[in-house]
Symmetry: C2
Subunit: 109 residues, 2 copies
Amino acid sequence: MGVTKTALFKKKQNRIATLAKAFDHPARVAIIEYLLRHETCICNDLVNEFPLSQSTITQHLKELKRIGIIKGEVEGPKVNYCIDEKVWEETKGIFNQLFTQYVSKNDCC
Amino acid sequence: MGVTKTALFKKKQNRIATLAKAFDHPARVAIIEYLLRHETCICNDLVNEFPLSQSTITQHLKELKRIGIIKGEVEGPKVNYCIDEKVWEETKGIFNQLFTQYVSKNDCC
DNA sequence: TTAACCTATCGTAATATTGCGTTATAGCAA
DNA sequence: TTGCTATAACGCAATATTACGATAGGTTAA
């Protein structure tokens, strides 16, 4: 159906799925990496940086903002975007917790 | 278009995007968590565990296998699935590297 | 005011994803 | 052989995503 049965899963599983969406498209990874590299927040240098149209970039920014991992602040005619520290730390924590759950099994399959 | 312009991005960005897809759907998160909990690999206890049809579960397993984060081993009529340690460690590493790149900026926006 | 911007939104087209029912297919047991 | 179980594959329908051009709104500078 193209529709995810969110209600069938635990809150945390849905949260992980939502946060993972910040990284599941190379353009969004590129945007996040750009934000990590630049101490100053940005606006649409991204349009000049990446070979994607302005509307496509805006759409990805909107998605990242919906997820919460970035936030934007209007500054005159521009919007400065930056990583939302709180959500970033949440993401880091929730994935670290997941990653460290794995213990090597002696050649299970 | 629904088509991601993979060629426009760096190899690593595409790799991150691919690996993130293992976690961008709650059902896949649930399957992975199941595999983390159970030392023994599994087959389709998942069908009994989750309120999704067999064909849907199989599809998610296929996607996880395509990504590489799990692997399956035919054992008679069943298939035992388990986390692929190598890819798991790669994922852990690549995300850790990303997460630790963030340094708190004093109130950037 | 006008002109030059930066952004967001809208509409459209193409493709991808999700989910399921329904079939194959394969192994094992009786 | 037959029957049972476990998987995989196929096809369909509904929805989501990706990308873009065109448009519109808001802000600053001239």
